[in-house]
């Protein structure tokens, strides 16, 4: 489970820290262990499929949750929301695979290292914490743009600040 790549991201997380400017900020908590992540999203570019100008975060948690947030930020910054959402869906599928998936490295990049986590149901939430926060923040940022209050995507573990 603890691939070297996970330990690397854990020890030296990429894109960590909260930065300005941002369009939306969320705080998500894993209530079973108290792990938390505060995450900001900054969008720019075309109205149709805006790009992620920045994803910044502050994570307090285990190696899996911190490394996952680091890998995620590194993969999706600069991508369009649509592209990032596709990666996110693929990652969710991997996490729900119970170790039976053959992850597509061309889509998931470093995130394939989390394959082993899917065999440990109690740790899947750790790996997903950052991703769920990102989805929520992005939905809010898009809602702001559209000038409407958008109900964020469902996430059973979400706790808004």
């Amino acid at each position: 489970m603890y691939q070297e790549i996970i330990l690397e991201h854990y020890r030296r997380p990429l894109h960590a820290g909260l930065r300005e400017p941002f369009d939306a900020q969320v705080q998500h908590v894993n209530p079973t262990c108290g792990d938390e992540v505060t995450l900001r999203v900054s969008l720019n570019g075309a109205d149709g499929d805006p790009a992620l100008a920045d994803v910044s975060y502050e994570a307090l948690g285990c190696s899996i949750s911190q490394a996952s947030a680091s890998v995620m930020a590194d993969m999706i910054i600069g991508k369009t929301v649509g592209e990032a959402m596709a990666i996110s869906e693929e990652f969710l599928k991997l996490m729900q695979s119970r170790g039976e998936a053959e992850p597509d490295e061309s889509v998931l990049g470093d995130a394939v290292a989390f394959e082993g986590v899917s065999k440990y149901p109690s740790r899947i939430k750790c790996a997903l914490l950052g991703w769920m926060a990102w989805k929520d923040a992005t939905a809010r940022a898009l809602g702001e743009r559209a000038g409407t209050a958008v109900a964020a995507g469902h996430n059973g573990d979400r706790e808004q600040s």
Binding site: R12, C33, G34, G61, C62
Partner: protein
């Protein structure tokens, strides 16, 4: 408050009935043979080292057999039906109540079966919110604006959130004792916190995180001087130390069956009989009523008033068998055995660099929950490494989030001990922590 240590029930340090010097209080190998699950292998083919009894205990064959025997020979709905099985089921259920009462030095009429310690706390909390509309006898339980409910920062969420909610429903004010850096309650402002506005004090009888055994009798005496009621959370004390409700000081004691070798799905509320007689019901429905008319209903005397629905008779029988099992070992021996394990663990862990134990480092008024933080390694990761070695521990905040905040820990890893644990298993825990340090160590890691 003046110290009344001799008043504290279940003093884990007295060890009155401990076996002669030089002999261990329990024959762990013999005990282990009674627990089938301890024979199974876990990850990597390792033997199971179960250090999570604070969450739920394992079950001896005697408890499993008692439940099975009930289902195979006497199963029926107690207190209903005119048939033989119904009578035998009723006897089995009520005899179990009497057995559990004897375990606590209580009367059977003071034992209410619930599904858990959590439900027992909620029963009292909802009885209090129902009191305002239940006639003059129940008025003493009513709380409202200007009244205070006093808890502690050390509580399990089960003995905290129901009181927060009671205050929100009624307008009463929630107040709390803080904890000192060593995890013991800060009672320095007790004279101010316990006052004429205090209607109820809810306090743990043994912390599920630090193992601290607060001076419940001393707190209760101060509360009673102001006419307040006292609830003791015995979820971690009743399984692990001798508890005598006549010496406890509290008016209510709650605990769960599954943490004391019994089945899941059964809990207990003990309360002084005169309180139960005046308390409004919480859950209503069948088997707790006296007369039902379309216009309204009257209710049975306790404990039936608090046991709506077909009761968990097999679980009650199993819990009574657990009391038999524990009494055969001797609760003083159980406490002495756990004290030895705890002392060994505290010595091993407090001597390790990079490991901080939450709670007292001695076994004085301290039970066998040893929670700790490993510098630079998140509890999830510590727990994962231990799991790979076959060692089952709890990680997270253990349903005591405010206590973790007060002790400056985001989360912790917790080992809890019971009758089937050995000193070797404590050594394996210490070795496992060292392996986690080696695995994640070397470089400064990012986690707190």
């Amino acid at each position: 408050m003046t110290a009344q240590r001799e008043m504290i029930s279940g003093d884990v340090t007295t060890g009155a009935a401990v076996a002669p010097v030089g002999r261990a209080p329990l024959d762990v190998e013999a005990v282990r043979r009674d627990f089938p699950i301890l024979g199974r292998a876990v990850r990597g083919g390792n033997d199971l080292i179960y250090l999570d009894s604070g969450a739920t205990s394992q079950k001896p064959r005697q408890v499993l057999d008692a439940e099975r025997d009930y289902y195979t020979t006497r199963n029926a709905a107690p207190h209903r039906g005119a048939h033989l099985l119904g009578e035998e089921a009723t006897d089995a259920y009520e005899n179990s109540r009497a057995r559990i009462a004897a375990f606590l030095h209580a009367s059977p009429g003071e034992i209410v079966f619930t599904k858990s310690a959590t439900e027992s706390v909620n029963l009292v909390a909802y009885a209090m919110s129902n009191a305002a509309t239940f006639g003059p006898e129940a008025r003493r339980f009513a709380v409202g604006p200007g009244d205070e409910v006093l808890v502690t920062e050390a509580e399990h969420h089960a003995n905290l959130v129901p009181w927060q909610q009671l205050c929100e429903r009624t307008g009463a004010t929630l107040r709390w004792f803080g904890v000192r850096p060593d995890g013991r309650l800060d009672l320095s402002n007790a004279d101010e916190l316990i006052n004429s506005r205090t209607k109820l004090v809810a306090v743990t009888h043994q912390s599920n995180v630090t193992g601290v055994v607060p001076p419940v009798a001393e707190i209760a005496a101060a509360a009673h001087a102001h006419g307040a009621l006292v609830v003791a959370d015995g979820a971690q004390s009743v399984p692990h130390q001798p508890v005598d409700v006549t010496r406890l000081g509290a008016d209510f004691l709650v605990f769960s069956g599954h943490k004391m070798l019994g089945p899941s799905g059964i809990g207990v509320l003990w309360a002084r009989r005169e309180l139960l007689e005046a308390m409004p019901p919480f859950i209503t429905g069948g088997s707790m009523i006296e007369v039902v008319r379309m216009e309204g209903s009257t209710f049975l005397p306790p404990p039936a008033r608090f046991e709506a629905g077909v009761p968990a008779a097999a679980q009650a029988v199993g819990l009574a068998a657990a009391c038999d099992y524990l009494d055969a070992l001797g609760m003083s021996n159980v406490a002495a055995h756990e004290e030895a394990l705890t002392a060994h663990a505290l010595k091993a862990l407090s001597g390790m660099s990079g490991v901080r134990v939450l709670g007292p480092l001695d076994t004085d008024h301290r039970g066998g929950a040893v929670s700790f933080v490993v510098d630079g390694i998140h509890p999830h990761d510590v727990g994962q490494v231990l799991d790979e070695l076959g060692i089952a521990v709890r990680t997270g905040h253990h349903c005591a989030w405010p206590l973790h905040r007060a002790l400056g820990a985001q989360a912790s890893t917790r080992a809890t001990f019971y009758v089937y644990n050995s000193l070797d298993e404590v050594d394996a825990l210490a070795d496992g922590i060292r392996q986690a340090q080696e695995f994640f160590g070397g470089e400064s890691a990012g986690a707190a």
